[in-house]
Amino acid sequence: MKDFDETPRIERRVAMEWIISAAASVPFLSQTVIGATSDSAAPVSGNEYGPDPDMVKVYKPGDLWPLTFSAGQRELVIVLCDIIIPADEQSPSASSQGVHDFVDEWISSPYSAQTSDRNLILKGLSRLNEEAVQKGSLNFISLSAAEQLEICKGLSLKPKEFPGNFFLKMRDLVAGGYYTTPVGMRDLGYRGNTPMLEWNGPPKEVLDLLGLEPE
């Protein structure tokens, strides 16, 4: 999977080795779940950007406050990103646009509005791995694509209660994160943000479809 974030991280191979060796030391069906933190998330450590930030500067996840995900959590969120927004013939997947790192930026935010999302997301990631372990797998990402999809389908049907509300929140973050990238905007059909000499109203094709006369 392509990683758009340039901040140094543990490589996937190293991370997988760590996960496998750690797994060997943990009793089967233990409460300790690989690649996830406990339900009570550690408090965030970063600072707010303040009331007078540089608006022109381009920011990346991790620039303003430290990110949270462990290598395992990040792998898991990459998988979820692409279950929620998979690639198709028209546009690429959410993870190809670095949306997983946006989710990390979001839940690592020092602002109180995101704190409840942080707890819900981290708790939900743990739960996914627990469910995978109960199915006899190492963790969620080790399940087959069909098994992963089945779990998500189940979660999607109960959006009001945990862990269904976790899936809803993750969906909102991933969809919102994706459709606010240039690639996602284009996929929606947004064609603006392009300086033009003149604005001539909607094209004739659109007016015809709506039965409207041009002004």
């Binding site: 707010e48 950007y49 009331p51 007078d52 540089d54 608006m55 022109v56 920011y59 620039d63 279950i83 929620i84 927004i85 998979p86 198709d88 546009s91 646009q97 930026e105 979001w106 935010s109 602002y111 109180s112 509005a113 999809l149 998500c152 999607s156 049907l157 269904g164 899936f167 969906r171 909102d172 969809a175 919102g176 994160g177 459709y179 606010t180 990238t181 240039p182 905007m185 996929d187 929606l188 059909g189 947004y190 064609r191 603006g192 943000n193 392009t194 300086p195 033009m196 000499l197 604005w199 109203g201 909607p202 094209p203 094709e205 659109v206 007016l207 479809l209 709506l210 409207l212 002004e215």
Partner: protein
Amino acid sequence: MTFASCIDDLCPREPQFWMPVISPKEVQSDYDVVIVGSGAGGGQMAYTLTMNGAKVLVMEAGRIFDPARETAMLHTPNMAPLRAMPTPDKQYGFYDSSVESGWEIPGEPYTNASKEDKRQFFWWRQRMLGGRTNHWGRVSLRNGPYDFKTKSRQGIGFDWPISYDDLHPYYDKVEMLVGIFGSNEGVENVPHSSPGVLLPPPKMRAGELLTKKHAKTLGINVVPVHRAILTKQQDADRLPAILHPGNAKAQKILAENMRSRAKCFFATDCHRGCSIGAAYDSATVHLRPALHTGNLDILPNAMVREVTLNKEGRAKGVSYVDKVDGADHHVSAKVVVLAASSQESVRILLNSKSNLFPDGLANSSGKVGKYITDSVSSSFSAQIPALENLPPHNEDGTVGQQAYVPWWLCKDHTAGRLDFSGGYKFIVGSGRRMPKMSSVRGFDRLAGREGTGFGPDLKEDARRFYGSTVGFSAQGAMAANDDCFSELDPEVKDKWGIPVLRFHWKWADDELKQIAHQQKSMASIFETMGARISREPETKNPLKVIKDGGKIIHEVGGAIMGADSKNSVTDQWSRTWDVPNLVLADGAPFPNTSDKNPTLTIMALAWRSADHVLDELKKGNV
């Protein structure tokens, strides 16, 4: 120095070099006028006064801000933290052209007298050069003749001591100076601009045209809104001579400034600020030419405590805190103008206590702080199946409002057929706008999905429903009443030790009935459009949907003008009855708000008032 060389000499991201500003050490002792506040009112005052030779100091509580360099016009949300979503630091989102500003500002509290949910007033403060004109949506509508005479026409609120005819020439002048697009539509109580004043309105978007077509069947007309955006470059050969007859220097400076402003390039939201000068803001349009007269000094970071008086009871100047080092200073002038935003000006007056004015300056009537009015507002949105799956096309236009419904029931008001007093307009919002975090919310419901949509379903829903919603935002007139006012909080002070305002707010039955009517009429248009509404129009309990006091940021009043010094604070020139060299130039002198946005009227009143100040200076009366 020409503008071009002025700009070439600048260092990037060093805004203090863009506009020469002064520090307290450089404050002069011989100003004709000191103006507190640099927004629409203060900017217009400074412009008119300096163009006609008066020596002026503009004081701004915030920092200097350079729209040309500091605004992120074409950035996409993924370039900002948290996808540019609002945070307590940037309360309208990361790219909103507001710094050090907000509903809540650390160290600068205000209070509400009531604890009740629906009796809160919310106060937006914009602490930066140009004030709220940086963030403003640029909707620029004239008050109509009826709006100045609500008492004689409908028996509510107060009549203004001026009529529409007094302000008409100033509306024309402001529109020519600022650059306003729009059209004259012949709607009752919606005045026409003089020929050659307005710039052409942009073409309507698909959703706006569709709304127009269907609303017409109900006798409701959708017309182009008026906004302070250049849809073509201003005529720098023609307008300066009209605006400054016989004043060659002013004509030259204005022509140069007009030529430095580009026309709109039909992309990016005006709320982000406009680096090319196509959208009006006070710094670009008012303060820049004012500076080039050589008659203006700008003092940023100056938090005014009070207006000081001389022995004769005339305004001597203002005392202020330099926010950079916390030191107290004083500046003197022949005339003091308060243009700090209606309620900040009220606060300064109430804090200016003396033996002569123990209850606050210019408050012999006891009316300072009284009669705050704000737009009576509710909104309604719906999804329009006809707009689904349209071929992708650019609908930015002049991003934001382009079409509106002016109040269409004046005749029913005249005939007494309505059970509420205030008319309202509504803005039509539609289009394939730049997506944000919330843009795909609600698509599960529209698609009839069970639970949370994801995967190929989600992508399909997003493509289908994006851009297919239309929203109406109604804003109506509010009559002045005794329940909505501000006063000093007896205990709470800000971080400089300046007592803060305490607000009283209560929606009247009249306003709630107006909201019910707004909801019904907006829903009726949606019905003709075959729209899918997300809820029923809220007619039973309008308190549920009315926007809280202050939330539309149209609050005016608190030092109303009138014909009688016993029940008003200023005369028709916005000059306080009690102190003849003290003038207000923001929304504070409005006896009431109308269904039109207040900013254009603030500017027209400020120009008229500045002409009067110039007259008085010339006559040696001040």
